[in-house]
């Protein structure tokens, strides 16, 4: 297979990628739907262009159309895609194969699903070299190991022999980057390369992409929903909404002076770019008596898999207190034990040792009916509103369920209460007979919050409750949570990996690292003056600091 275009780096002036009048549509039984309308943009050598937009904005479809990998039903209807001056828009798949990887390559979104689970890392990297005839056999394997080293994996010899499941998410993403850069392409399309990763890992991966770009002069098209990432990493920004370009230009210019309303809204909603101080709670955090601590967690320990040799300790001696009416955030990366901690606090799991007091009640002493009664006080909202709602029930059915379990209300009273709660979370009344699949992510999360609120609990445990949502929706949900706290005097236990969000919503914070409490205290204190290096690393990794906005002080200048 000969590559019709050789991946040489074009001169500064000529764009590597020049897209004009691109129209992408999806065809299904109900007809055709255009998702990308007439898009024009270009990417020059050595440049990072960020394609920013919310879900459904057409950013992924655009990226997929460029490389000819639209999902089934997707068609590139119009437009030209000039790659190094040659229009590849109408090329058949066979011909595209020749340039994929060698001239234009893709770093996919989900490192968990993009590697072949039954082949070793080394084989998979060597494969792309072999397929394009760059090297074969032992030479390809040696190059694969070099590449692994180049993308910053420790012990590349060992990694080459390992299978994808033996690597962490960040490592797998590095492997995918190694595959993407193997043939030194002129353009890398990175489709949300870090959205599945922890914030510190995210920073390392983005640093890596930056380094490689500098070294090889490769252009990068960075597809992302995170304006903070785009702000930090890109030279130029393209803002997409509903498949149309709202704005494009130099990143600094757009951030300083956004022209379109949509960009302005995105900027305002992005927590990392626009840290708003939290509105003080009804009950001041500094209020006095220790009796006012509604959640007390004391020396909590949770072991898993003990007995079968080499059990592991997910939570190790964690203690914190939460005052009534305040918001306590638990932050940490995946594997830090934050989810285990809140599962214990919300009585879904028995700790190995340690004590949890909820409003003075010791969880360990509760059994059966008493434990069930506790559910009225403390409610959990899950991360993923797609999994936490029964697909077969209507919205009314979902929200009324807790009432059926606890209160003897007539049907009319119950429905009135459900309607009132739906109204409280700002959901329109006409959705009450729909099923979850007919709602958007933000609406579903509101339903989940409504279900949690319908019993008038005192404590709401929010497990990454906004991290699966678009920034705009996320901002709305955070606003809603703030309002509800002021109205109802709720206490929140808020788990998140996103420090920008935490700073916006929480009063106090605990930082967990591999099961241990690294730091705890008031949000302002911890953020402005972190005492542990781990916390400092977490704070530094938050994207969006390159362009501190005039309206709000940046993280570093907060103290």
């Amino acid at each position: 297979m000969t590559a019709p275009i050789i991946g040489t780096i074009a001169e500064e002036s000529a764009p590597i990628l020049d897209v004009a009048g691109l129209v992408v549509a999806y065809r299904d039984r109900s007809g055709q739907r255009t998702v990308v309308h007439d898009i024009d943009f270009e990417v020059r050598a050595g440049e990072v262009v960020a394609l920013v937009g919310e879900s459904g904005s057409g950013k992924s479809s655009t990226a997929q159309a460029l490389i000819g990998l639209l999902p089934e039903g997707g068609i590139l209807q119009q437009g030209t895609i000039r790659l190094n001056g040659q229009d590849i828009a109408g090329w058949p798949q066979k011909r595209l194969d020749g340039i994929r990887g060698s001239v234009i390559s893709l770093v996919p979104q989900d490192p968990g699903n993009s590697l072949n689970p039954v082949r070793t890392i080394g084989e998979q990297i060597a494969e792309i070299l072999t397929v394009h005839g760059w090297a074969s056999g032992a030479a390809a394997r040696a190059q694969a190991i070099e590449l692994l080293e180049r993308v910053g994996l420790s012990q590349p010899q060992l990694r080459a022999r390992q299978y994808p499941h033996e690597l962490s998410g960040g490592m797998r993403q590095r492997v995918l980057i190694a595959i993407a850069i193997a043939l030194k392409p002129s353009l890398i399309i990175a489709d949300e390369p870090t959205s599945a990763l922890d914030v510190t890992v995210q920073r390392h991966i983005l640093d890596l992409i930056d380094d490689l770009r500098r070294e090889y002069g490769t252009a990068v098209l960075l597809v992302t929903h995170d304006l903070g990432v785009a702000a930090d990493r890109s030279d130029r920004l393209i803002v997409l909404q509903h498949g149309r370009i709202q704005e494009q230009g130099h990143t600094a210019n757009i951030l300083a002076n956004p022209q379109s309303n949509y960009t302005r809204r995105l900027l305002a909603d992005a927590p990392s770019l626009n840290a708003r101080p939290k509105t003080p709670p009804v009950h001041p955090v500094a209020s006095t008596a220790p009796a006012d601590d509604i959640v007390v967690v004391d020396r909590l320990v949770q072991d898993f898999g003990a007995g079968r040799g080499g059990g592991f300790r997910a939570v190790d001696d964690v203690s914190f207190r939460v005052r009534r009416g305040s918001t306590h955030a638990i932050v940490g990366e995946s594997g830090s034990g934050k989810t285990t901690t809140i599962r214990i606090v919300s009585a879904f799991q028995k700790p190995t040792s340690g004590q949890v007091l909820i409003d003075g009640l010791d969880l360990a002493s509760l059994r059966g009916e008493a434990l069930r009664q506790l559910r009225k006080k403390i409610q959990l909202v899950y991360q993923n509103p797609y999994g936490s709602l029964d697909p077969r029930q209507t919205i009314t059915g979902i929200v009324e369920e807790p009432l059926l379990n606890f209160e003897r209300l007539s049907r009319r009273e119950r429905l009135a209460k459900v309607a009132a709660t739906l109204d409280k979370v700002r959901l329109p009344a006409d959705i009450s007979q729909r099923r979850p699949h007919a709602l958007s992510g933000g609406q579903r999360q509101r339903v989940a919050i409504a279900r949690a609120l319908v019993l008038d609990p005192q404590i709401l445990v929010l497990d990454e409750a906004v991290s699966a949502l678009d920034v705009t929706v996320q901002a709305q949900i955070l606003d809603l949570l703030g309002e509800l706290q002021r109205e109802l005097g709720l206490t929140y236990l808020f788990v998140s990996h996103d420090l920008a969000v935490v700073r916006q919503i929480a009063d106090t914070v605990s930082v967990l690292n591999v099961g241990q409490l690294v730091e705890t205290g008031r949000v302002e204190d911890v953020f402005s003056n972190p005492s542990s290096p781990y916390t400092r690393e977490l704070i530094d990794a938050v994207p969006g600091k390159k362009f501190p906005r005039a309206t709000a002080p940046a993280l570093t200048s907060a103290g």
Binding site: D390, P402, L455
Partner: protein, 305 residues
Amino acid sequence: MATIETARPDPDLDASDRKVSVSPVTLETDAHENTGTVGRFPRIQPGLFVACLILALAILWALVPGLFTIYDPVQGLPGQHLRPPSATHLLGTDSLGRDLYARIVYGAIHSLSGALAAVGIALVAGTALGVLAGSFGGRIETVIMRLVDVMLSIPDLLLSLSIIVLLGFGTVNAAIAVGCTLIAKFARLVRSEVVTVRRSEYVEAAFGSGGTFLKVLWRHILPNSLTSVIAFAALQAGWAILQLATLGFLGYGAPPPTPEWGLLIAEGRNYIATAWWLTAAPGLVVVLVVISINRISRAIGSIGK
């Protein structure tokens, strides 16, 4: 280009596109899921259409046999034995002068109701066992599932024959025997479904909102587990017809002169050299009905996905 192929973003996994803010995009995801497979609203498929037609005819035979034939299935016509198929006797007559077509029509009720009863027994008992095992786990699960393994290890025919020997001959007992052989299969399927549903977040959320075990079972676990169980039940109905016919053929089912399909095949066997249609016709009917039911159960299964 396997490397690039693996790197291809799967639309169904495209997390950002799933977090939708407008419903049209939800439709998009559905569209991708269904492309290339049987759609949620399948176009008219000729095979399925014929299958429905055959099953509908068999059900009508069972419900109103008198509409389809003027002959009596039990009383023979004197002097008309072993006639070949003709205009008066569509499928000929047997050795006692009974119209074979009439006997097949009147036999439908025995086969279909027997299959229904067998699947009903298995569905209820198997679901109960499967739900018990799947939702309690631990020792209860181990005991139930090992019992199920034991039942699965006994050949079906041997098991049903033993049960009939215990209970005695007859249509009802044959149905019970066939039902018993199916219990283990249902229990295994239901358990796996229940275990999957039980791990889902909405079930935990239901416990979290104060649901007792039985309420959660009834509201969430059962409804979400049953789709594939229903499809399986339809599939097993076909298999039960086959089993009942087998038992009838061996003489363990309905006693003569009941026009049961398996028995018809057995009775025709003696004249296979001179009147092959006596065996072939009822055999063909059994085959067609069973295939039709299989086809329909596959359609039910794909709706559930």
